[in-house]
Amino acid sequence: MSKVTTLAEAVASISSGAHLALSGFAITRCTMAFAREVIRQGIKELTVSQCVGAMDADLLVGAGAVERIVYGGGSLDRFGRLACVNRGIENGSLQAEEYSSLSVAFRYLAGSLGLPFIPIKSLRGSDLMRQIQERTGSNVGTVTDPFTGDDWPVLKPLLPDVAVVQVQVSDEEGNAWIMGPRWDNVEQVKASKRTIVITEQVVPVELISRNPEWTVIPSLLVSNVVELPFAAHPTSMYRVYDYDAGQIENYVKANSSPETFKAYLDEYIYGVKDHWEYLERIGGMKHLNNLRADPILGY
């Protein structure tokens, strides 16, 4: 059964207040077109989670769509900081549950396996642990290993309402491939109630069936498939297109203050009707063609 739908319809299926797991990592495979449409549709009070904070989360936070972030810290790599996230934490407008990369990954993993909690070595003795205890009260605990008698910190599973994942290839039912490292994406999908796959290309199921070992997201977990090229722009999509350094620098100039960020939102989100107009706004096909990945290098 085809699950192919438009971005607008897929985004409209998300309620304000939902918990979204987003597939971005810093400046790669971020759910950018999705985030821009969430902002245009005015969906609010979201919880967003990801192991390492990325440009998709920063954009949503800066646009006021996010109430709470669950993450392991993050940046825009050499380009700059997650300034909207940092500012939200500093001024108290954003609730932050801040972990390490592995702690968030283990919370997704516990969720993906249907386990009630997961023990972890990390966080012990750190102020991250103290802060999580103070801010959440109940998301970390201690259990005694019944076999050795050792005490272990344990984390609650993370159970997002919707995982939103940018992939290179999917069929119309949502059997999807992720090229390159997958960081937390597979555990995010498997811990979530449902998944929206945003794919550069919808391919025939025959191609999937001939290469099933490539499938890391099986269709049974997927509710919607959106085919949308350059949907991760200005972040990169391994083997398809490189990041757009100029546009990320443009973003980093904008996210340094609420005033400049508002102008950014007006120009690139509220000022365009949809993803296609956005792509025209940033330079159209002539510009995007320069970002195409070299087939050997992958970038």
Partner: protein, 256 residues
């Protein structure tokens, strides 16, 4: 003796980092100087070393410098591309990482690292990059090496936030929380420091050529243990500097 015409302080830091690594070790690396140190070691005395990036990358052979771990340039010719659970879980958490390389915004005298909250001169705190995999590496690697600039505002007696645990309050406090390992070296642009085996206080190991003990101490926010004899750090070899400049970091993305 001024040897700065032959190599930069950053290059010496990278070489000192490389010297800490042995062949066949498994090394978890963040971006920046640790990448240069690790690739340098692999191209010289440690060809069978395994390099890990937290997001799921094993043993890449990049030919172009990247802007960070998210840049596909640093994944090029990897031997495996997988996930956090794979790298930080099945390898690091499962006790298979020999050395973790960490940078930090602030470190205290027990090797605890802060990358989360940094105070400005007005007494307000800015939220920074946070942990990423740093807390996991500091908690789970068999030992860690810290690389950072030698400045009093970075080498502090106490830090405002422990993102990644060193020896906590010193002595046995780290072991008492159930953590093994801990930092073994702090490599700065002026000196190499270690930790006292009992008290776990930071201890001077060697001073880089061209620096004085007085200057090293005056630019720290706390007094490290100073042994009666502090040797001079061995300068880099010509071949190591050539490899850094021509092969590992020709565009000076990491060495600045």
């Amino acid at each position: 003796m001024n040897t700065n015409s032959d190599y930069t302080p950053s290059e010496l830091m990278a070489v000192a980092g490389a010297r800490e690594l042995q062949d066949r070790q498994v090394v978890a690396v963040g971006l920046g100087l640790p990448v240069v140190a690790s690739f340098l070691a692999k191209k010289t005395h440690a060809p069978n070393m395994t390099i890990l990036f937290e997001l799921g990358v094993i043993d890449p052979e990049p030919i172009h410098p990247g802007v960070g771990l998210a840049d596909p340039r640093v994944w090029y010719r990897a031997k495996s591309l997988s996930s956090f659970v794979d790298i930080l879980g099945t390898i690091l958490h499962n006790n298979r990482v020999d050395v973790g390389f960490l940078g930090g915004l602030e470190v205290d005298q027990y090797g605890n690292l802060n990358t989360t909250l940094v105070g400005d001169p007005r007494g307000e705190f800015r939220h920074m990059i946070g942990s990423g995999g740093a807390n996991d590496i500091a908690s789970c690697a068999k030992r860690t090496i810290i690389i950072m600039r030698h400045e009093a505002r970075k080498l502090k007696k106490t830090i405002s936030f422990i993102t990644s645990p060193g020896y906590l309050n010193g002595g046995a406090s780290r072991a008492q929380t159930g953590l093994q390992g801990g930092p073994s070296r702090v490599i700065t642009d002026k000196a190499i420091l270690g930790f006292h085996p009992e008290t776990k206080q930071m201890m001077l190991i060697s001073i880089h050529p061209g620096n004085t003990l007085e200057d090293v101490l005056a630019t720290m926010g706390f007094a490290p243990i100073v042994p009666s004899q502090v040797p001079t750090t061995e300068p880099p070899e010509k071949e190591q500097i050539r490899l850094i400049r021509e092969v590992v970091d020709p565009l000076k993305m990491y060495m600045g």
